[in-house]
Amino acid sequence: MPMYKSPNVHGHGMNCGEHALQNGEVDPSLKALEERQDEVLRRLYELKATVDGFAKTVTTPDADLDASTPSPGPAESVFKGTADLDSLLGKDLGALRDIVINANPARPPLSLLVLHALLCQRYQVLSSVHVHSSVSAVPPPLLSCLGPRHIDSYARQRFQLGFTLIWKDVSELQMKFSTQSMCPIEGEANVARFLFRLLGAEPQDPAAATQMDCWIDKAVFQLSEGGSKDRAAVLRSLNAALGRSPWLLGQEFSLADIVCACFVLRAGQTTSAPVNVQRWLKSCQNLGHFDCVYPFLQ
């Protein structure tokens, strides 16, 4: 919209392009003016996008965004470490290395959905969702929580890793991998720790690793299983820590952020959370990996 209305030189409701000079040509100076106007508008849009991008960069230190794209997608790869699947999971002997997770549909494991999205960026993952006969019906969003079925899903051999989520009547979330050599892993946090290791991004420094575990335990025992006093205490700790650095472990995004953010989101009432916590939740959202989680929040 123009900032002020300029009197129409040639008449009412007509643009200059339609007005020919008496000899049938468009006045070149008018054309140039139009072109300059278009150019100015285009540069304004570009500037706006860049500023938006920078704003996000400031609040989201790890985001690796292309600032000129108006709607950012998920980050290319947040974790730059290396992991060797063969040494972590055993050699690929021809059987798909399939990670089986049994979860109760009443308590969807949000942090594992985030980790699944991260694994898919890193590896060729064959994801499937099944409903166990111990459960009679499951709401449709839970059936599509791992995203659309891979086109090549009929050729299991082409994948490096399998991620099989089974909605089942279990009291505690359970993960099975190699039943011959590994006992099942129980509890969302423990399974999250296992999956995180596959990304090769765990902190090498023992102090940081311990701190990460500490945050995860806080989320599990106080946020999730504790009463309202415990929850308030955790939110205060989070707020304090996040006042000092953008992520819980400092400058690096880690599993602690994934698990704590998911547990905070699941507990609800995020609008009444302390300031730093809210900012941090927004940063997590901006990374894009948490998109899969939002359909399951009330």
């Binding site: 002997l93 021809g94 059987a95 798909l96 399939d98 089986v100 049994n102 499937s128 099944h130 409903v131 166990h132 006969s133 111990s134 009679s136 009929y154 299991r156 051999q157 099989t164 089974i166 089942k168 099975k176 190699s178 039943t179 011959q180």
Partner: protein
């Protein structure tokens, strides 16, 4: 003095005669007394049997009359009918006299109810005696008043009521000596050994199948089996399938020459069909798109195993597909899942009843069905310590082990194994497009045992001829079959299951003869 001797003799003789006479007279008197007593008792009995019109043995029902009488089923005897006077037809399950009372348990199919007959103003001593002497399994008509009971009758299915009998008539009497006792036939195996009570072995059961089928367990098994068939039909009809009937007397062995029954056919011989395979496929070539059939299958295999019969009921499917045979696998597995769900949701009573005698784990499955590849299975078995070649067929113990490994990891009793090696499959199996050593074929397993073998079929006459020659099959014998693919044939795939085996595995039973009403095996041709 001779005169006197004769007299003495005469006297002696007459003394003897007198004694004899006396004795005879005594005897006669006793006899008369006895007879008089009996007559008197009889009279008494007749006089006292005021109830003689209310019991007895009915003349054989030859449709002499149309009685306008409603018979209530035992399963409908509930407290709602309290104080009603009703007629019931049932079998005598047990009868026990105790002084002036007689306790009967009446049975109809899986349902039992207690009935009481006591000497009183409605029943005479003779009537109670009659009831107590009735043989087990006799079919009787009873008129009784339904009475609520204070304490639940644990031993019967109808626990809240009992019948107070007014009239009792025998419709069909059973012989006194039964070849097997029903309560023995339902006793769980372990229990029999422990308490020294008898159980009935399988051969005795099968020889007297008519009585064995009356047990609650058998009634439940075959009702569930009927459910399997029903669910199979309903699910496929809803998916747009057409039911077809295929011939069982055929001119050539379909699966291979060895295990086929020969029948004399006028001046020549014919065979009993080993599967409806060839005809299902011809129906697809005839544009029926999706077909299924339910019918007998004859395999002349001389195996006396727990899971083989020489005649069984095959439930077969064949389906044309668009681009990939997995469309068909998905359809078949979805049908199986619908069957399992239907049984889980609607036949719990039957499942519990079978479990009483044959305890087992409930059947578990995943939706959608788990599908693994053959190579994966080999890798899993090797990891578990089995030594086998990559293209070797799975032996039965390996199948069982694989079933256990899958159960451990995925907690499912039903899964599909895809991409079998080509060498171990029939000649009409379509080879894998990318690896000639493998094929587009699959098996499905329940509780670690194979229930379905299927594949994409070769629908090209040229390739089919090659494959048949490769397997050394006489082309003349399958000419009609190959001809059906010469005039445009859609790509198609299918598979078939055995009704008895699926029922057996679903319920966790261990012998397929338990789920076949009148089983046929190399050693049994009757009943």
């Amino acid at each position: 003095m001779q005169y006197r001797a004769g007299e003495e003799e005469q006297q002696a003789q007459s003394k003897k005669a007198l004694k004899k006479q006396q004795k005879e007279a005594e005897k006669a008197a006793k006899k008369a007394e006895k007879q008089a007593k009996l007559a008197a008792e009889q009279q008494e009995a007749d006089e006292d049997d005021f109830a003689k019109d209310r019991y007895g043995i009915c003349p054989m029902v030859q449709s002499q009359q149309k009685l306008d009488r409603a018979l209530v089923r035992v399963q409908d005897l509930t407290p709602e009918k309290a104080e009603q006077q009703i007629w019931v037809r049932a079998r005598i399950h047990t009868s026990r006299a105790k002084g002036k009372q007689c306790f009967l348990v009446l049975r109809h199919q899986q349902f039992t109810v207690q009935a009481l007959l006591a000497v009183g103003d409605r029943a005479s001593k003779q009537m109670v005696k009659f009831a107590a002497n009735l043989t087990k399994e006799s079919i009787i008509d009873v008129e009784a008043v339904v009475k609520k009971v204070e304490q639940k009758i644990e031993s019967c299915s109808q626990q809240d009521v009992e019948l107070h009998v007014e009239r009792i008539f025998v419709i069909s009497q059973s012989e006194a000596r039964l070849p097997l006792q029903l309560e023995d036939a339902v006793r769980p195996e372990g229990e029999g050994d422990e308490e020294g009570r008898a159980t009935v072995n399988q051969d005795t059961r099968l020889d007297n199948r008519v009585i064995d089928l009356r047990t609650t367990t058998s009634q439940a098994i075959f009702r569930l089996q009927s459910g399997v068939c029903q669910l199979f039909r309903d699910t496929l009809i809803n998916k747009g399938f057409v039911e077809i009937q295929t011939p069982k007397i055929i001119s050539a062995a379909s699966e291979g020459g060895a295990n086929v029954f020969t029948v004399s056919y006028f001046k020549t011989s014919a065979y009993l069909a080993q599967s409806p395979q060839l005809y299902k496929q011809m129906c697809i070539c005839a544009d029926f798109d999706k077909v299924f059939c339910v019918g007998p299958v004859f395999r002349a295999e001389d195996s006396n195993t727990h899971r083989h019969l020489t005649e069984f009921v095959g439930l077969d499917i064949e389906m044309a597909f668009n681009y990939h045979y997995h469309e068909v696998i998905d359809s078949i597995t979805d049908t199986m899942v619908q069957i399992f769900k239907g049984l889980r949701d609607r036949f719990q009573t039957e499942i519990q009843m079978v479990n009483k005698q044959y305890p087992s784990e409930p059947f578990k499955f995943l939706e959608p069905t788990l599908r693994l590849e053959y190579k994966e299975a080999v890798a899993m078995l090797k990891a578990a310590g089995v030594e086998m070649g990559d293209e070797e067929d799975l032996s039965t113990p390996n199948e069982k082990l694989l079933g256990r490994l899958v159960k451990d990891k995925y907690d499912t009793d039903f899964y599909v194994l895809d991409k079998y090696p080509l060498a171990v499959r029939p000649f009409y199996t379509m080879p894998d497009p990318n690896n000639p050593k493998y094929s587009n074929s699959y098996d499905m397993f329940m509780r670690g045992e194979e229930i379905l073998s299927g594949a994409q079929r070769v629908h090209d006459a040229q390739l089919l001829t090659e494959r048949a020659m490769h397997h050394g099959i006489d082309l003349e014998k399958i000419k009609a079959y190959i001809d059906s693919f010469r005039y445009g044939a859609p790509p198609h795939a299918g598979g078939g299951i055995g009704l008895e085996r699926v029922t057996m595995l679903y319920l966790g039973l261990h012998n397929v003869r338990q789920t076949s009403m009148f089983p046929r095996d190399p050693k049994r041709l009757t009943p």
